[in-house]
Symmetry: C2
Subunit: 340 residues, 2 copies
């Protein structure tokens, strides 16, 4: 891929690490043409690479420590030599174009904040997840980077999200909605009521007002802004509900002889649909607001999703998306400053 | 139904009022044997009743005012003669056993709080929604009554929800989970981190720890506790996601000739499944913590759901559920008091 440095892939992060992560790296390199460097414990990684006969294709950078899936933000402070910390270090030094990790979200976010630092004027980072709406994805942020926010932070998330939709998804003048519990400006908790007022007054944003939980997948706006707590609950609720609906559907389809016949006919199409709605297929979510490209893959990612996350990271790095997203926030902050 | 006073049905509340609400009242009375009194503007209601030839079967109590679907909590203070206020008044006087409304949630909650008052020791009311899990529903609360809460309020919601699961759903020793964004005690925002500590120490509760968005429909606990903002976002996200999954499914099924044949075979079963997952079919959600039974039906309710909500309200009133739920909170509050 036009001579950019490789993607630094945290080989120790994720429920299926290192096996599926290494398999994902092999796919990214061979099938997608994305250069990758694996960061982790060499013996295990060499063994996995050998399994694919890829020992000479993918370099390994040693990291002695690992942040486990059930560890939180504090672990990142205690482990300066963790695989995710080393991956961030490679990006800072310019030896990698981006970080990809399927590790614990709290651990990845805390480490990346510490090692890459926030872009100038950015209050808090946010995870931007593309939801499978049509004709293009709706960006939901924050999906879990920052659980406690101020109203001003939500305005910044709106700017980060709008810039991401423009730059990464090619949406001109993205419409921004605020996630809350009713259509009118006065509906919601104290946080969103104040954020609504600030968003109304924010320059350079096409703020269209409130959206609700049932608007996540109907494409009514291009960017949905919320705090990391609510966004994470909503995202996981969405995933669980789609899985539940298909589980119930399968139980129904198996129920009778006529139904079984029908199932037989439709098996291929149903499988295809299920894959499209599968959160792992999205590839990953970008962590916005830091000095470097970071893509967080689903904790349960398998090889295919790891490879997709590497491809997303390389594309974002090549387009300079993160830098352009940060510039937007910086220039908005300056404009705000002039107005006050 | 064994001589209880009638259910006071807010005939003016809901997207399809009064037509579908009156039709629901007729169904409740004729098909389900639930006595109902309609509260609203007589000319419109008489006309609707005549349409069903039910003018002599269902009494009307006059209410001059209405709280519109887009009005919030303040409207309830401004309109002491609204249909929902009069319905609450009937319950206070003992002339009705319960209130049912498909009106604006904020309006119904504010009016009911004002007219029926909180039970002794109850800090804030909560809406308890039964989610379609198996073998019995999981109770999610709060689904939108109280958007801003303190950690102590979440402990009370846990007690209200556990008492409701026991009394209304017959679940012995209900397991209670706290909705947040990670499995470990330290995951979440400030509110849930503190609530986790309090729930761990709360007497008489089987608190099993954190649950996440994808646990809403997997039946891992019997009661899911959250604030009214997060709960409402999660509930509407669930509804929207199920609707989306079935919409996508339908598009897939219509896609080819083989698929169309299969669809034909399965039409009856699919329709049945969709109905079961439809939020309107739940009937309604109980508002817990007030001196009186209040059931809030979905704003888009049609006749069937209105009738189901009336039946739920009558059953809760007959069982004395609300009083027993309140007693539990009162006795827990006393126990806590003794411990301090």
């Amino acid at each position: 891929m036009d001579g950019i440095p490789p993607v630094a892939l945290d080989a120790m992060g994720g429920d299926n690490a290192p096996g599926e992560v290494v398999a994902g790296a092999v796919r990214a390199v061979r099938d997608l043409g994305v250069p990758v460097v694996l960061v982790g414990a060499p013996p295990a990684l060499t063994e996995e690479l050998d399994r694919h006969g890829a020992g000479s294709e993918i370099p390994i950078v040693r990291a002695e420590e690992t942040i486990a899936m059930d560890e939180g933000a504090l672990a990142s402070l205690r482990r300066p030599r963790s695989s995710i910390a080393i991956a961030c270090h490679l990006v800072r030094r310019g030896d990698a174009c981006a970080v990809v990790s399927a590790g614990s979200t709290a651990g990845v976010v805390a480490t990346a904040k510490l090692r890459l630092r926030a872009q100038p004027g950015v209050l808090r980072p946010a995870i931007a997840v593309p939801l499978p709406t049509r004709p293009h994805p709706t960006v939901l942020l924050d999906a879990g980077a920052t659980a406690d926010v101020k109203p001003e932070t939500l305005v910044q998330f709106a700017q980060l999200g709008a810039a991401y939709a423009e730059t990464a998804l090619g949406v001109p003048a993205p419409r921004v909605g605020l996630l809350t519990i009713g259509g009118e400006p006065g509906k919601g908790n104290k946080l969103v009521k104040r954020a609504h007022e600030l968003l109304d007054a924010a320059p350079g944003l096409d703020f269209t007002g409130n959206v609700e939980g049932h608007d996540l997948l109907n494409g009514v706006v291009d960017v949905i802004v919320t705090d990391g707590f609510t966004g994470n609950v909503a995202l996981k609720t969405m995933e669980g509900s789609v899985r539940y609906a298909f589980g119930e559907l399968r139980a129904t389809l198996d129920g009778g002889r006529l139904a079984r016949l029908g199932t037989l006919l439709q098996r291929g199409r149903l499988r295809e649909l299920r894959r499209r709605l599968d959160p792992e297929a999205y590839g990953g979510a970008a962590l916005l607001g830091l000095n470097g490209t970071v893509v967080i893959a689903h904790g349960s990612s398998r090889a295919g999703s790891v490879a997709a996350a590497c491809a997303l990271a390389a594309t974002l790095a090549r387009q300079g998306t993160v830098a352009r997203v940060g510039e937007r926030v910086t220039s908005s902050a300056q404009k705000q400053h002039r107005r006050w």
